[in-house]
Symmetry: C2
Subunit: 226 residues, 2 copies
DNA sequence: TCGCGTACGGTTGTATACGAAATTATTCGA
DNA sequence: TCGAATAATTTCGTATACAACCGTACGCGA
């Protein structure tokens, strides 16, 4: 634990030569993913500026980017509010993910280099070595999928998938907290790696789509038990 | 022709209650698509601000959004420059479009309402009624595709496809200036409408993918004859 | 003549100040 | 007591001013 947890919302990476607005943006992303701001919460420029001890200008820039990403939306006269994904949007998000992850797996089976395939195996081993640490599992899982994205050799596909991943991170708690989900996901990952390594695009796409469908099942179970 | 062509870059929609930064953003998008700024051109905040007769603040916000869309990129010390798509990127763009348009057509075959199918037919009729006006053909073509996007009932898919369309608009001249391309496209459109109307997802996806592949062929022919 | 260092100009990054619009609270009247 | 109108406050949108950074060009020395 950091000794300066305070009320959260710490300015990240101020030491580096990155612009302040970038640091503010990252801080807000982090705060949103950490659940520091819950959906429906107001997000006022002045308040954020004061908490981060910067002026409104860089805050404004960061909020603009957050709005472009769809994380927050304007609430007439009351500043911005953190958006929440309704049930329909969750379904659409996973439907889109199925399309894109399927396509990425197909392309990865065609274009992945041997080092990339090795990296997938390494990440998967690390993933399975993690027992109960869901946060670390989520991190490794994301790294695994991002490796596939890059292996697909299409920057538009890559950035679209990154966007979706961010949207999922916004949903909060990961599905790996569900009993048995990590083991199932691990097996799906292993099969997918094998399909990619054996250069079988059709099979890779099919397995990736099934993987996302299973992830959706877990997600819905998680949402409904609230 | 407008009587105020001047040197271009007119501030659009200032009368409405939209924020200035939004108006600046639209103006710049328009200018970019119109080829007023060519790839490689510098885009300085101060210069744009003066030409639009606003301060740097809203210009800065607009340029930030343009950068997020990948239309411009920072050139250290020299402001921003308009990005150009190299050959590899064009291929990736169309590959991504094939994936997404295919998925959209599939979903549209499942979810399109009768009014939407009628709208597609109307737009296609209007498209074929246009003889030589390539600009109007491009507009109708985009409306046609956007109707399919919406009919797919997935807002993530829709926004991703809109982004790609913007990227294509950035390429400049449309492929409809090629001899015979409008007629070919029209036939592909008709076949696609029929597949959607007869609720055949597999066929709709296949036809949409072929349509994009043909569009890419035309695009490459256009690029190579420079 | 070539290389290095310094100085200058240009460009963005950030802060602060002002104005407009919308919302909310309060008060007055019925 | 309830409704409507007005005033006050909050919040954003825009402008302007200042500071820091990065290239570039010029000059000096080897």
């Amino acid at each position: 634990m950091s000794d300066q947890m305070s009320s959260g919302l710490e300015l990240v990476g101020r030491d580096s030569g990155i612009p302040l607005s970038e640091a503010v943006f990252r801080s807000l992303c982090q705060a949103l993913c950490a659940g520091l701001y819950r959906p429906g919460d107001r997000l006022r420029e002045e308040e954020v500026a004061q908490r981060l001890k910067v002026s409104r200008t860089p805050v404004r820039e960061a909020l603009g980017r957050l709005m472009a990403k769809g994380f927050v939306e304007p609430a007439s006269g009351r500043g911005l509010v953190v958006r929440s994904l309704d049930a329909a949007e969750v379904l659409e998000l996973y439907a889109m993910r199925e399309i894109l992850e399927g396509a990425a797996a197909r392309l990865a089976a065609q274009h992945a280099s041997q080092p990339e395939i090795d990296a997938l195996t390494d990440l998967e081993n690390a993933f399975e070595a993690q027992a109960g640490d869901t946060a670390e599992m989520a991190r490794l899982n994301r790294a695994f999928h991002e490796t596939i994205f890059r292996a697909a050799r299409n920057r538009y596909l890559d950035s679209a998938l990154q966007e979706l991943q961010d949207g999922i991170a916004l949903l909060g708690i990961t599905t790996f907290s569900i009993e048995g989900r990590p083991a199932t996901a691990a097996e799906e990952h292993r099969n997918l790696i094998e399909a990619i390594a054996s250069r079988n695009p059709d099979h890779a796409e099919k397995l990736a789509r099934i993987h996302i469908q299973e992830a959706l099942r877990s997600r819905l179970r998680l949402l409904q038990e609230r």
